[in-house]
Symmetry: C2
Subunit: 478 residues, 2 copies
């Protein structure tokens, strides 16, 4: 029986100034005359799209609500009919990421994720640098099936990290944080940034980048992404913790207690439960099918749906778990809005108009220098963003169009910008979901975070463009 007394509802009004700016930007573009060669519907859709992006950046309301309002505005202004305005919800790339959100719940629910992390501690945890590599190895193993880097970091890796730091008496305070906690926090965070770049399903905005590339005729599959990323990714994962160990060393170098702790935790967990075995089997099947999917003709989303089906049939996940996975439904909505707008902007000719405009302007250039500048601007503009998704949705498509227009090989341009869409979050304590979480535990001071983040951004760029560039040459991508 519910209480009848009406609870006082305080209205959490949308933040006024950000809302006014968002609406004003939309209205100004809407009422400007479209440039020659741009249809009026394309221009109106652009106005709604830009307003949506501004709203996602300024956050008068949460991203999902802004996206829903964007869809409503598109339909209400008859810029698109309702069926087209809702078309994003049936997009198969979106459902790949939504399904991956559901599947990732299984790692956390069954305890398999934590078990994997402690297994790596057992193997690598003798020294503090080994602990860092162990945490990153667990992160790397889980990354293909946990698209929320916040869930991967905050839900699986960080608890293990914290238990080891505390075992060494390293607390988030001035005197003990540098013992080991600060080092592990930074190393693990920078690891998350890199693992996110390595798989299409390792970060929520990756499929958005792939989808936007697809709109411009560049096809990126799960396996082509992973193949291109594996060499620079592994190198970065090896180099970055070592670099942090050098420039921001932990006071404690040897960590026998970490191994002991891992052993104790694993003993406490006992044997693998049936649910963990099923989860493991489903995960391995997913990986095999994602890797080989292109060859045998099974779409990545179909694979994901099948994996989810196995988890549901076996009861590892219940339907309630699925309905409770709010991150998935949130992602469905914002993703559907952005993909719908981007795809109709393309269909209405705006992207090709923009590309031709740029091509006409740049003329004969050496694409390498032009693309280098473009990609660096793309990278370092992330100082101004509080979310990978906001950055990708606002800048990825136009930067890709320009890159292709100046003559960059399209696949390379699309992949570099996609990888950078993860790597650029190394720099600040607010630039990606897990950053404020990791920073918030208090082990690392802000000046250290930013200083080391900047150094690592340079290292990552050198590895990914330098070694990566050679690897992509070997792969024949350019």
């Amino acid at each position: 029986m519910q209480d009848h007394a009406s609870p006082k509802v305080t209205l959490p009004h949308a933040k006024t100034i950000p809302l006014l700016v968002t609406v004003a930007v939309g209205l100004i573009i809407w009422f400007l005359p479209p440039p020659e060669g741009v249809a009026i519907e394309a221009w109106h859709l652009l106005a709604i799209f830009v307003a949506t992006i501004v709203g996602i950046i300024l956050k008068p309301l949460p991203m999902g609500a802004i996206a829903m309002l964007g869809i409503a505005t598109t339909a209400l202004t008859a810029t698109l009919n309702i069926q087209d305005a809702l078309s994003g919800f049936g997009n198969s790339t979106i459902w790949l990421i939504v399904v991956a959100f559901f599947i990732s719940r299984g790692f956390i629910k069954t305890g398999l994720g934590i078990r994997i992390a402690y297994l790596f501690m057992l193997l690598l945890g003798k020294k503090s640098l080994g602990v860092a590599y162990g945490l990153i190895a667990a992160d790397l193993v889980l990354a293909p099936a946990i698209p929320s880097n916040t869930a991967r970091g905050g839900g699986v890796i960080y608890p293990v990290l914290a238990s080891i730091a505390k075992a060494y008496g390293s607390e988030p305070d001035e005197t003990t944080s540098r013992k080991i906690g600060a080092f592990l926090t930074l190393a693990s965070f920078q690891g998350l940034v890199i693992t996110g770049a390595m798989f299409l399903t390792a970060m929520a905005a990756n499929p958005l980048a792939a989808q936007l590339a697809g709109e411009q005729g560049v096809n990126i599959t799960w396996s082509s992404w992973a193949t291109a990323a594996i060499v620079p990714g592994v190198l970065s994962l090896l180099a970055v913790p070592f670099l942090i160990y050098r420039i921001f060393p932990p006071e404690i170098k040897k960590t026998p207690v970490a191994v002991k702790l891992a052993q104790d935790k694993l003993n406490e967990m006992g044997c693998m439960k049936l649910s963990e075995w099923i989860m493991l089997g489903a995960f391995v099947s997913l990986l095999i099918l994602w890797i080989s999917g292109e060859m045998i003709g099974i779409n990545a989303t179909v694979t994901g749906l099948t994996g989810l089906g196995i988890l549901l049939l076996s009861g590892v996940l219940t339907w309630k778990d699925v309905l409770d996975e709010k991150g998935a439904w949130d992602t469905l909505v914002w993703f559907a809005a952005l993909v719908m707008m981007a795809s109709y902007l393309n269909e209405l000719g705006l992207i090709s108009w923009f590309s031709e405009l740029i091509s006409g302007m740049v003329g004969d250039q050496v694409w390498i220098s032009a693309f280098l500048i473009l990609s660096l601007v793309y990278f370092y503009s992330h100082y101004f963003f509080a979310s990978n998704t906001a950055h990708v949705s606002s800048m990825y498509a136009p930067f890709l169009a320009v890159a292709i227009a100046v003559g960059t090989p399209p696949v390379v341009a699309a992949l570099v910008l996609a990888f950078f869409s993860n790597l650029f979050s190394s720099m600040t304590h607010y630039g990606t979901g897990p950053a404020p979480v990791y920073f918030g535990y208090g082990y690392v001071q802000m000046n250290d975070w930013w200083r080391i983040g900047l150094i690592i951004s340079v290292v990552n760029i050198i590895i990914w463009l330098g070694i990566g560039g050679m690897w992509w040459k070997v792969l024949g991508l350019w």
Copy 2:
């Protein structure tokens, strides 16, 4: 910090026998040779569709999980490509109901729903029959924007009902239940059944019926549904409580305390809060646009999205409320699966093949008697169903096809079957969402529930086919 000790996960395995039956049905149909004139893909999709329906009825897993497995199977077997298999998620009828779920949360959250119910008590509550009409009036007012009859009954109406029953010392026991609680429970439940039939957005499976009718070329809009239902609906709402009052009378006839109680509750609530005013404004706007939408060319889903937008912008609903509304996400999934399958069965020619087959068999009949038998079989087969959705998704489309084949005017056939898809749930204590809820409170014995339910089913059929038939003649529907 989360606990690392892995919790014991007991696997809530799918129920084995129902699962085996579901799969077996699918496999048998799959491997039978298709009848002449039916393409193999259509036949395979039929096999998956029938298995999905059997699964929804036998419930080896919850409906949403079955639907998700149906989508996965469709794509995995390459019966449809992944983009087509996911196409249901972008369907605008589905989003009308999903958005209505979100909006309905506003009535419960702001307390406006309960306030409306007590206002009707104040107006009509002097006698026990008046209390019943008051509860039904509140239900009728809220029905257009609360598509979950379970939420409408259990979340808004029943709490008011129970407070009045308890004020008169009527508890769910042998000695006091018949004082007033049993009468009000039955009257309110039967009211819910009828109000559900009156608006496209008053019951979750209504848009499914409309969508399935659309597949067969019969266009039912929000306003055409409401117009056709208003006359028989209001008559039923007037007749049924009176009938229950006669054959299942409450011991208490006069209820001054109900008026007093309503007055006290309303005093306690105080003036309308700002959030209630906004909710009221949004609701009235929705109703006006839904009613007039056809004339002014605004689609019902666009109206719904706009209403949701107003509630989000004003903060009456937060984005978290939206993500928390699990019924909406559940509905999105099962609805998307069923609509996708039904629409491709149609596109692949199965519906037209079936219609032609039936037309050839029935020849020249008087359609009235044939349709009467059809619709009665449709109605009373609900004794075998535990959900309106299961019944509609399995029987609506073929019965409509047969009805049209024997010569029934298509709009009449579609509407009657759609109305019956609500009215048939008067009969049992398990036939629709709120039935087990209302029955579960224990005021009404099962034999009373079934006996009176059967009588009311006859009354409803007579009113809706008799008076309704005349009204539809006036409207020119046949």
